[in-house]
């Protein structure tokens, strides 16, 4: 089960691919679709691999993506 997820603000993206390249688990790929500005934003190709580490968020120069942990409360409860 995925530990994290990402939120992508498609219209802010300028398609630099920093997030795609530096996601440690290769969760993302640039989509073939264009956003309104004419860039290819990223989309999630391997959701189960996302750790929610937010490295994508730290790399994104356009504040267009961020990662977050999910199910934190459940796992805490289980522990």
């Amino acid at each position: 089960m995925a530990k994290g997820s990402v939120s992508i603000i498609v219209e802010r993206c300028k398609g630099c691919a920093f997030c795609v390249e530096f996601c440690p688990t290769k969760v993302l790929a640039l989509s073939s679709a264009f956003n309104a500005k004419g860039y290819h934003p990223p989309h999630v190709v391997a959701p189960e691999k996302c750790s929610g580490c937010d490295l994508c968020g730290m790399y994104c120069p356009d504040f267009a993506i961020y990662g977050y942990k999910i199910g934190k409360k459940e796992s805490e409860a289980a522990a």
Partner: protein, 290 residues
């Protein structure tokens, strides 16, 4: 269904003037990436955001102040440091960050940089070094590597560039580090460190400028620069700053080079005036600003 703990917003957003986003920076520009690290540093330093002021000069990097939701000053070209000096001396309670470009801080503003470092004014200076004067269209800067092409060095630059950490250390900076925009976590940690410490502190952030530096030098796009940083950066904490100069395609030595204690300008001033004037010295907090 997976129970989702929704994170309502990008963690950077509370620190930005969102009404001004999207920003002016190009696709693949590193300035925004450096801002991410800065905001993480603000979070982790647990600083009171109402007591942090950010001062920029002019340039692409100079626009950072205007995007940060802090007391922010977009000053004149080269003069962020003397503005910040006045602000800090008048308001010792404020944390004053200078965030600007390499041309701004080391060409037109170079004299101010060395004097603020010499005086040990308690400023946190973050220099985004994209190796070029970007805002004005890609002219050679005092950081442009030898042989690099710019609009004013069309046959390749032949001026030797500054080695910024060496310069900062020689002038008296008490903290000197260099990271690249690839090193987002290390950069955030370094920024947090300087937010928390006292004394003139300097971080050089090597950053892509795909539009104006790289294009003319056939160095690809922002991602290519980032990959280059990943492959060619060597972490050497404590490296002698004389040995960390950059050239056009060589390794980039990164790390924390210097961290020393030295009494700040304000401390030495108070000490000296007290020694000479005794009780006549009126140094109560807030004396400057009634």
């Amino acid at each position: 269904m997976i129970p989702v703990e929704e994170v309502a917003t990008n963690p950077v957003e509370p620190f930005l003037r969102m009404e001004r986003i999207p920003h002016i920076w190009c696709p693949g520009c590193g300035i925004g990436t450096s801002v991410n690290s800065f905001t993480r540093a603000l979070i982790e330093s647990e600083a009171d955001l109402n007591k942090i002021a950010i001062v920029s000069g002019i340039g692409c990097t100079g626009r950072v102040a205007g995007y940060m939701k802090l007391d922010s000053f977009h000053t004149t070209h080269g003069r962020a440091i003397p503005f910040a000096t006045g602000l800090k001396l008048a308001r010792p309670d404020l944390t004053v960050v200078v965030y600007s470009g390499d041309g701004d801080l080391f060409a037109i503003g170079g004299n101010h940089f060395i004097h603020a470092a010499r005086r040990n004014i308690d400023l946190k200076v973050i220099c985004v070094n994209n190796l070029i004067y970007a805002m004005t269209g890609g002219q050679a800067a005092p950081t442009t590597p030898v042989t690099a092409v710019s609009t004013t060095s069309p046959y390749g630059c032949y001026e030797p560039p500054f080695n910024l950490p060496y310069l900062a250390a020689a002038a008296g900076a008490t903290y000197v580090a260099r990271w690249t925009t690839f090193h987002v976590r290390q950069l955030a940690r370094a920024m947090k460190e300087i937010l928390r410490r006292k004394g003139f502190s300097f971080i050089e952030v090597i950053s892509p400028c795909p539009t104006l530096y790289q294009r003319r030098n056939k160095m690809g796009d922002g991602l290519d620069a980032m990959k280059f940083y990943k492959e060619h950066s060597k972490v050497k904490n404590g490296a002698p700053t004389a040995e960390v100069g950059l050239d056009i395609a060589g390794d980039i030595i990164v790390g924390k080079f210097i961290e020393i204690e030295r009494p700040s300008y304000a401390d030495v001033m108070r000490h000296q005036l007290h020694a000479r004037l005794g009780d006549r010295y009126a140094c109560e907090e807030g004396a400057v600003c009634q």
